[in-house]
Symmetry: C2
Subunit: 214 residues, 2 copies
DNA sequence: GTTGACATGTAATTGGTTACATGATTAG
DNA sequence: CTAATCATGTAACCAATTACATGTCAAC
């Protein structure tokens, strides 16, 4: 019963602003894409389950069968409970680090190539996030100057609270990708040290003499 | 069809050294606990599926129905393929960061408490990993001085290749937890800045006068 | 002879992904 | 009238978690 975070993601988004499943999907595909991705079928299913549990309700109906959901008091209580009382999940699976464990199965050159590739990927991801931050902050500044604060037509598209605190999450992404890049560089250096310690008699990892190739 | 990393975790471990499901479980619960945790039922199931697919085989049978598995050539090929050609999964779900997105639903004091708690947790995790590294490196040094290199009775418990490259993964853990702590400290400071920008008229985040109660 | 470690499995449930299926409304 | 967007759902499958179930062997 621990977890169920999709449920709380939906609850949290609706707590910021009421919306339809379709509205939520936009947020899941943009703001939350790197934090808690979700598919369409998941979201619609969860909305129905939440409604059944009384944590959200259909506040309005629109064209094309649109159902606009809003959190109930019970929903708000559940959200608070989850945020304050529930231990965040500390388990993180990483197939990237899993490969690192088995680097001994590759030649030293292949292992180094793997780590360099990961470093590059992290660096590129870092750049993407930097650009994202620029976009988001410039949009937000424009909004702030309009005096739009959580009301008006754009309220659903760019709810103030979400981008504001979303920026904290984005900063985490920036720091994590930076750390990943630094780590990868460091790890490549370490390979040499391992090579030396284990000697060329150490087996498979020392076999390949060519250091720079593919 | 992307993913299936449990399969490759098992394959990778058997590539380092043959072993039974029971042997593998020890590794999953220790070395791999923070990288790719797996349950007993998963591992035994996967071993059967791997055997059926011809990627591993029962190399030996022992007392109590023990089946010692070893990778086949096909298995080794599949492992290499996964390590070199398959894109690591970049999607990471984080209910921790998900909560950060919704911090606007809490009072400023509650939000700060949440971030401080996360910072503390990261710091404690960092310490745990530091101690783990000490243990592992001292054990490994002892092993090295014994001249035990991947053979003998302890070979299965502490396969050289695993701890060697496992240390790279451990270092990633150290850097990640350090970064998490730094980020949390930074984020707490940011809350004040947000408070100022949004003013006390900004809504819910400033509403709650009672900062400690339910 | 009983306890604890060794050893392997099944079943039920949950959460997530992919693919499929359908239809209403609006803008050009 | 036609294409894009809006809008909601179902079904099949896969991966992971939890709980249950069973039995052997060694040491004391």
């Amino acid at each position: 019963m621990a977890g169920m975070s999709l449920r709380h993601a939906v609850l949290g988004l609706l707590a910021e602003a009421p919306g339809s499943g379709y509205d939520l999907m936009r947020v899941f595909n943009l703001s939350l894409a790197n934090v808690w991705p979700a598919t369409q079928s998941q979201v619609y299913g969860e909305l129905n389950r939440l409604a059944e549990a009384g944590l959200v309700e259909v506040a309005d109906e629109g064209p094309r069968g649109r159902k606009e959901y809003a959190v109930t008091d019970a929903g708000r209580a559940e959200l608070r409970h989850w945020m304050i009382d529930v231990e965040p999940n500390r388990v993180q699976r990483s197939d990237l680090l899993l490969r690192v464990f088995f680097l001994g199965q590759l030649s030293r050159a292949e292992a180094a190539a793997y780590l360099r590739r990961e470093g590059d990927l992290a660096a590129r991801e870092h750049d993407v996030l930097l650009k994202l931050r620029e976009e988001v902050t410039s949009e937000k500044d424009a909004c702030d100057e309009d005096g739009e604060r959580g009301s008006g037509k754009d309220g659903g598209k760019d709810p103030d609270g979400l981008t504001t605190h979303g920026l904290l999450a984005l900063e985490w992404g920036l720091r994590a990708t930076r750390a990943a890049k630094d780590w990868a560089d460091w790890a490549v250096e370490q390979l040499d040290a391992i090579e030396l310690r284990e000697g060329s008699g150490g087996g498979r990892a020392g076999d390949a003499g060519q250091l720079d190739g593919g």
